[in-house]
Amino acid sequence: MEYFIIVFGAIFVNNIVLNQFLGICPFLGVSTKVSTGLGMTGAVTFVMAIATMVTYLIQQYVLVPLDITYLQTITFILIIAALVQMVEIILKKVSPALYQALGVYLPLITTNCAILGVAILVIKNEFNLIESVVFAVSTALGFGLALVIFAGIREQMELVDLPKGMRGVPTALVIAGLLSMAFMGFAGLV
């Protein structure tokens, strides 16, 4: 039941993009097509789960015992940067097609604030290791859900005749606002 609450809360109630405003850059950047959206979700889920696990262990077994928790920000961002680099190298070898599609955005995962945000959030929420990983994966799925719905709507918006100033990002933001409003319907469920 506890896990269900964490999963449901992270995907629907406190959706990372539409409610917490983290990971907006990739949300706006790669959301013009559903297929790239799915690829990005895969990359983010993978990186987020590993990053959260590693940063959690570092926090519990290095930073806290040595009483240097004020180095949290520096340590976490370095770990995440190194991890993303690793994923990039592995992906290049294993799946060149996916690498081609996400190549531009993989380095950007380092500066995807959702990754660092979740790493810090699990510490703040005082989750244990399993809860942290469950939280990270469901947050990434929430990110994916928002991204794919959003990409689907944007694909349709390509065909619409809009006033010049509204084209592109302004429309995208308005759509995100409406989506966010829809997700508010889940508020208070958990």
């Binding site: 405003f21 940067a81 945000g117 010049k164 409003m181």
Partner: protein, 194 residues
């Protein structure tokens, strides 16, 4: 390009939020009131200024291949400084900005200016660039915060202007997206007709 241009380009021509569309997360996340927007903007300005200065000073000693991690460490150090100073002297604001203070480290504007400007230019122009971009960011956040606070609770910087309820939606998450969307559309319109 002279220093005056380095300074002023951040406000309108190359405004990081309204034109370059960088740093969207804090822009949307903390602007429920004008005061929060201003606080976040100034905190980011400090980090941007200090990291621009340090990076333009040490740029010749950092090997090209490890420059990104090196920049991130420099930026993260200043973010830690801001985090500690704020929690010491402005605990209330620190509480409200919460997660977004450590997240300045992943603000694309800061790393973007380090890579695009400070690593190629001298200290003096980097200072002007950092200040201009930072204050441009602060300006955009304060603008968005003011709009949301005005519509959402009919007040500005905490002062109640009209004694009635506003449109609550504008303080809630959807309002952030809607307000920023229309603000950028307005700026686009101005730029196209100007």
């Amino acid at each position: 390009m002279n220093n005056m241009q380095n300074f002023t380009k951040g406000f309108f021509k190359e405004n990081p939020v309204l034109v370059q569309l960088l740093g969207m997360c804090p822009t949307l996340g903390v602007t429920s009131t004008a005061m929060n927007g201003l606080g976040m903007g100034l905190a980011t300005t400090f980090v941007l200024l200090m990291s621009n200065i340090s990076i333009s000073l040490v740029k010749n000693f950092i090997p090209d291949k490890v420059r990104m991690p090196a920049y991130i460490v420099i930026i993260a150090s200043f973010v830690t400084v801001v985090d500690l100073v704020m929690s010491g002297y402005l605990p209330e604001l620190h509480e409200k900005l919460g997660l977004f203070i450590p997240l300045i480290v992943v603000n694309c504007i800061v790393l973007g200016r380090a890579e695009a400007f400070a690593s190629k230019n001298g200290v003096v122009s980097s200072i002007f660039d950092g200040l201009g971009m930072g204050l441009g960011f602060a300006m955009a956040l304060t603008m968005l915060g003011s709009v949301r606070e005005l519509i959402g609770s009919l007040s500005l910087f905490g002062f109640k202007l009209i004694d009635a309820d506003g449109i609550l939606l504008f303080i809630l998450p959807p309002g952030a997206f809607l307000a920023l969307g229309f603000l950028i559309a307005f700026i686009n319109h101005l730029r196209k007709t100007a």
